[in-house]
């Protein structure tokens, strides 16, 4: 682009661009940032990027991939969201999470939505995330989802859409805070002329949401702990970060025990009760007595205490039903049924492969669709048809025929692109956005969220485990 050496290699190429309306013409929200970048030379910017990278390594802000710790690549150019856009997204996110929370209470309770034909019983009963042990259980505080990460994308027309719901153990909140902290340290001048909504209160919002999960008689001053699978888990640095920010213990399964209807932390000087556990362990590993008997990560007897209301778990057990990718198809109807409102944020057109007509259409059009495992995460177990080889599509077709219920297909969304500093210049890469909704007594949305970037040219996969990076996200005030 003319007039700015850093942007010399920047191409819009017909995609929706977060920064520009057309070549060299920044959107109003980006004008000051663009002008600031124009005044920066590539060497200075590269040096700031190296500072940020070093800081990530030094601070151990990493994720584990194939057993190796790696820094989560961080791009210094923030993504900007105008205030009015954000207010609408915020409403849509709150609406969605409230509806999913009510849906879960209904699925494990009266099952009205199923009885009324909003969601097929067969679909719910075959969800990998459905936990029969939760039938009839009402979690303390009546809340099922305390933290949700809802993946949003913008399509070619710039329309925000929900791509996925993550309501089991959504990760990434720590990066929202750390990215902001790095931006303030490494590129403080970028904040000039911008009012940016702060995010550093997010751990306190999370703590409030967790406290709301405490048994009623202990709501005043509950003891909260973060249950981690340990340092070998990909998100361990996040677990440690959040525990520290909230000022609560970070525990592993073998640190806890069950006795007299309560959960206890084993300390050097005896036991101490725990009222709420923010667990980053899968349902199946939470309690070897109830679920997988070979689990080394859980606490024997935990489910019994949980069912009796002796401890709160966040998120509740069995929330996987609500982020099953086949149930996703029904979320607009779930919103209408439980809230009597129209969905504020639209979804991506999605096909259920257990429907014969959808199955045939999808198999005939794999070259243009995205196929995902219904319980997949991390960008694994998916096929991006337009980028796949013939052999990969054939292999996926075979898997789909064997288990149609296990997959859904979506129209390939041409994710919007944003500027990223790579190889000495600024280039356009596809991005998504994961905002976080924290839901205690009332829902709260952390301003912005985690913008994830597909760093490989043309790639639509933004997951860190597959070469993705992240950006700070500014909600302009």
């Amino acid at each position: 682009m003319e007039g700015n050496a850093l942007f010399a290699e920047y191409r819009i190429d017909g995609h929706f661009d977060e920064m520009f309306t057309s070549a060299g013409r920044p959107r109003p929200a980006y004008r000051d940032l663009y002008a600031g970048l124009a005044a920066t030379d590539a060497a200075t910017f590269a040096s700031r990027c190296r500072m940020a990278e070093r800081s990530y390594m030094t601070q151990g802000i990493t994720f584990s991939s194939a057993g190796r710790e790696q820094p989560f690549p961080f791009d210094l150019i923030p993504r900007l969201i105008p205030r009015d856009d954000w207010r609408l997204l915020e409403k849509g996110l709150v609406q969605r999470v409230k509806a999913l929370d009510l849906f879960l209470a209904d699925v494990y309770g009266p099952r009205r939505a199923i009885r009324d034909g909003v969601v097929p019983n067969r679909l719910v009963a075959t969800c990998p995330g459905y936990q029969r042990e939760m039938v009839g259980v009402e979690p303390a505080g009546g809340r099922w989802i305390h933290i949700a990460g809802i993946d949003l994308v913008r399509d070619r027309g710039g329309v925000w859409r929900v791509l996925e719901d993550n309501v089991r153990t959504p990760s990434g909140l720590s990066y929202v805070l750390q990215n902001r902290a790095f931006m303030k340290r490494v590129l403080p001048e970028a904040f000039a002329h911008h009012g940016v909504e702060p995010v550093d209160h997010a751990p306190l919002l999370l703590l409030d949401a967790l406290r709301a999960a405490a048994p009623p008689d202990r709501r005043d001053a509950p003891t909260v702990a973060v249950l981690t699978p340990g340092p070998y888990n990909a998100a361990y640095s996040e677990h440690a970060f959040l525990a520290r920010e909230m000022g609560v213990p970070l525990v592993q399964g073998h640190d806890l025990s069950v006795r007299d209807g309560r959960v206890w932390i084993e300390t050097t000087a005896g036991r101490r009760p725990v009222d709420v556990i923010y667990r980053r362990v899968d349902d199946a590993f939470l309690d070897p007595v109830t679920f997988r008997s070979d689990s080394l990560l859980g606490v024997a007897g935990l489910m019994q205490v949980y069912r009796e209301g002796g401890v709160g778990l966040a998120n509740a057990v069995g929330t996987g039903v609500a982020d099953d990718k086949a149930v996703y198809v029904y979320v607009p109807d779930i919103i209408r049924y439980f809230l009597e409102e129209e969905p504020i944020i639209p979804q991506v057109p999605t096909y259920l492969l257990e429907r014969p007509e959808d199955l045939e259409m999808v198999l005939d059009n794999l070259h243009r669709l995205v196929v995902k495992a219904v319980d997949g995460a991390g960008g694994y177990g998916m096929l991006i048809g337009p980028h796949a080889t013939e052999a990969e599509r054939a292999a996926f077709a075979s898997r789909i025929r064997e288990n149609p219920r296990g997959y859904i297909a979506q129209e390939t969304v041409d994710l919007s692109r944003a500027p990223v500093f790579l190889d000495g210049g600024i280039r356009a890469r596809h991005v998504d956005l994961r905002p976080f909704v924290l839901y205690g007594d009332t829902p709260a949305v952390v301003p912005g969220g985690l913008t994830r970037v597909a760093l490989r040219e043309g790639s639509l996969v933004v997951n860190s485990s597959q070469g993705g990076g992240s950006k700070d996200t500014w909600v302009l005030s």
């Binding site: 601070q59 699978p229 340990g230 990909a234 640095s237 084993e266 300390t267 990560l297």
Partner: protein, 334 residues
């Protein structure tokens, strides 16, 4: 009150950082002696390299038959060596990672940075930059960690466990060093003459990190009895066995007072007994009685370690660790 697993992690951080620093200092002194006198020189081998190898758990015999000074140091640096410097720094960092939510940011970042720096030393870099540069990095790093821990951590149970690990490692390490070197020095005294003895004693003091203090406070000439007495009994020197054992005792007493270990802890009893052994010894000389005293102190240190392990620490059974790691890796973080 703290988690048993957390107590072990703090203890291990202190122990492993101290262990890495001691080894680095030993290696630096040994290397300097070898540069001057040649690898084949009996004094360098007996006075320094044998203790280095013994303390690193890499064998107590003669150093490997190599012709390059850097290569001589490699077994001590290499991560493959369980007791090597890199391995101990990595262990300290892994323990810190397990409790990073409880560490001051400066302490975690220092440890992590040190791990990254020390792990970056390869055979090639050692050839280029030299053993001294490596050892200096380790020493500086360890002192930074200890300093940050003392200045930034709340002096609660976590800090007491860290201090306990550091002090116990130092007490045992200095005892082993003195035992091995004095034993070798005593044997070689008549054969090698007074100059060699002075060099060996100076190397011993330097390896223990106490040379300049000794010279300022004790003597203008170095002689075995004074050196032995200083390294064992000088309570004001942080490098002496006496001071380290006092620290061990004080940590355990503070932990008992806080209820973190049982009031009648065998570890505390052993620490009291070890201090009592030194009190009873009176003046220390570099003779056969010193060796008996050092053996007693070492046994006390082992006893303290075993007792604290039983009283306080929780470990995953070795056989389950692999399965535990595999399960942890596969937990969904969507």
């Amino acid at each position: 009150m703290m988690l048993a697993r957390v107590a072990l992690a703090f203890f291990s951080i202190g122990r492993d950082v101290e262990g890495a620093e001691s080894l680095a200092r030993l290696m630096e002194v040994g290397h300097a002696m070898a540069v001057e006198t040649g690898l084949a020189n009996g004094t360098a081998q007996a006075s320094v390299w044998q203790p280095v190898m013994a303390l690193s758990g890499l064998g107590g015999g003669a150093p490997p038959a190599v012709d390059a000074l850097g290569a001589l140091a490699l077994p001590v640096i290499a991560p493959e060596g369980r007791g090597g410097v890199q391995a101990r720094v990595r262990a300290a960092r892994d323990h810190a990672n397990a409790v990073r939510d409880l560490l001051p940011t400066d302490l975690w970042e220092s440890l992590n940075e040190i791990h990254l720096e020390i792990a970056d030393w390869s055979e090639e870099r050692l050839d280029q930059a030299g053993v001294y540069a490596f050892c200096r990095s380790v020493r500086r790093a360890a002192n930074l960690v200890h300093g940050v821990a003392d200045q930034m951590m709340c002096h609660d149970e976590g800090w007491q466990f860290l201090r306990l690990g550091r002090s116990l490692e130092r007490a045992a390490g200095q005892t082993r060093l003195l035992d091995a070197t004095v034993r070798a020095g005593l044997a070689a005294r008549s054969a090698t003459g007074p100059e060699a003895e002075v060099r060996a004693l100076r190397a011993l003091l330097s390896s223990a990190g106490a040379y300049y203090d000794f010279m300022r406070k004790v003597s203008v000439s170095i002689e075995p009895d004074a050196v032995a007495h200083y390294l064992v009994m000088e309570a004001r020197s942080p490098r002496s066995i006496r001071c380290a054992l006092n620290e061990v005792h004080d940590s355990l007493a503070a932990l008992a007072a806080a209820g973190a270990i049982p009031a009648g802890s065998a570890a505390l009893g052993a620490a009291r007994a070890a201090c009592g052994d030194l009190d009873a010894a009176g003046d220390v000389a570099a003779d056969a009685r010193l060796r008996a005293l050092l053996e007693t102190v070492l046994a006390r240190c082992d006893g303290i370690g075993a007792a604290i392990d039983t009283d306080c620490f929780a470990r995953s059974p070795d056989g389950l660790r692999g399965a535990l790691h595999a399960q942890a890796e596969h937990q969904t973080q969507n």
